[in-house]
Symmetry: C2
Subunit: 251 residues, 2 copies
Amino acid sequence: MASQRGEGETTTTPLEPADRERARAIPEAAVARLAVYLRALSGMADQGVTAVSSEELSQAAGVNAAKLRKDLSYIGSYGTRGVGYDVEVLVSHIERILGLTRNHSVAVVGIGNLGHALANYGGFPGRGFPVTALFDVDADLVGIPVGGIPVNHIDEITSVCMEREVSIGVIATPPPAAQSVCDRLVSAGVQCILNFAPVVLQVPDNVEVRKVDLAVEMQILSFHVARRADEAANVSVGNNGLGVDGMVIRP
Amino acid sequence: MASQRGEGETTTTPLEPADRERARAIPEAAVARLAVYLRALSGMADQGVTAVSSEELSQAAGVNAAKLRKDLSYIGSYGTRGVGYDVEVLVSHIERILGLTRNHSVAVVGIGNLGHALANYGGFPGRGFPVTALFDVDADLVGIPVGGIPVNHIDEITSVCMEREVSIGVIATPPPAAQSVCDRLVSAGVQCILNFAPVVLQVPDNVEVRKVDLAVEMQILSFHVARRADEAANVSVGNNGLGVDGMVIRP
DNA sequence: CCGACTTTGTGCATGCGTTCACAAGCGGTA
DNA sequence: TACCGCTTGTGAACGCATGCACAAAGTCGG
């Protein structure tokens, strides 16, 4: 076990036993949507909205209302029948479930175009994710601050990450370096990795990896383009219900 | 089994009827993995590997071997029992299925940090996706080339996209601008959109949207951090499944 | 030519996630 | 208080995806 993190004491919002039980049962897909709900709810709260129904919120989040209710049921019953949900309550509850009450220190490795952009996001969208360390192999970059944080040399990953208690590592390096960087992050105790490099990372079971793969996204879109083009070129009869939208014409 | 190619050799890689039938039946999840397989296969081809078994390829792609075979079966049987798959054949077949034989012109809207990074990717990872247009609202940016392509003003989206036959639009704008930009892209005939803005886009049915949401990714990781920390903090809980879950009364 | 070995392709069962539909519960109202 | 309308929460059915296990089909050595 790699969790010898000094503070066993959660100084921030301990989960109650009931919540903990549930946290284990929340489907992956639902977790992703909870984050979306949270954003929609935050926007509503900023506009002074205090209550919301599952119907409204589901539309804002672009999902089915029943699905939303089921997702929320995974984290407990915080709605009022006949009325809806209290925005404030829901926001803080989802934040607690997602672990956003504690700050997650983020390290970005690879200060190329993408790494630069990530560092400059400044605290990352939906704050709570302060970027506290940057790394690169290029000696010319070392010491230069990007987005307010000085770049460290890649060899310092382990020491710096442990020192600053980095909990999330972001890999934005070229493909060949990714696995090596990943290994170093892991040995520094980082258990969550966001990988932008088009590489399948090998990690121990106790490390969570999420990948963002632009090439794959593009190719999925390409597939749909091809399919559409093919369908269009091959419509023997009427096209399927698209007749309504004359989207191609410019107003 | 000679590869029979029809008489009409056209410039646009025609899908044979059999392929077209299959293209419709490929599960979304499988399409994403095909892109991953393709990358692994391309790497192998570059290293001179000519044949590969499902076991080898599945490990390179980080998936179950049976799943890989099933995925490949969706696009037809191109393996040889007892031997494996011919790398070249598989590469070109997956490319055809994914529609990578035709070039997909890409437009990037929003030349901030991220847009800059995307434009500089230069043809996008896994070539075949030439960036042919850049847009921004900022008049100061207009005309300045980024990654070799001059920036156009956002008001020109429709005309420029139609002129250059953009098939994929990438939205890298701040959230408030995203929907508006999306609408313009759609009216320019763009049917596939890759959205980096943390916004739920409303589009007609005939438009395909994929979103890359950094905040959501971070929050999913945060959830796992919290769950792990929590598990580590009290391993003593006997997880006996039943009995515990009942409705817990709020203290 | 045959038999043993290897690897594909796939039927089937299992599990997860989504959707539907409705009872339960709450606030408002007379 | 009793009723009414509205919304939540969830049981149950459905559909999709995953993984197993094995027959089919090919290669290779003798």
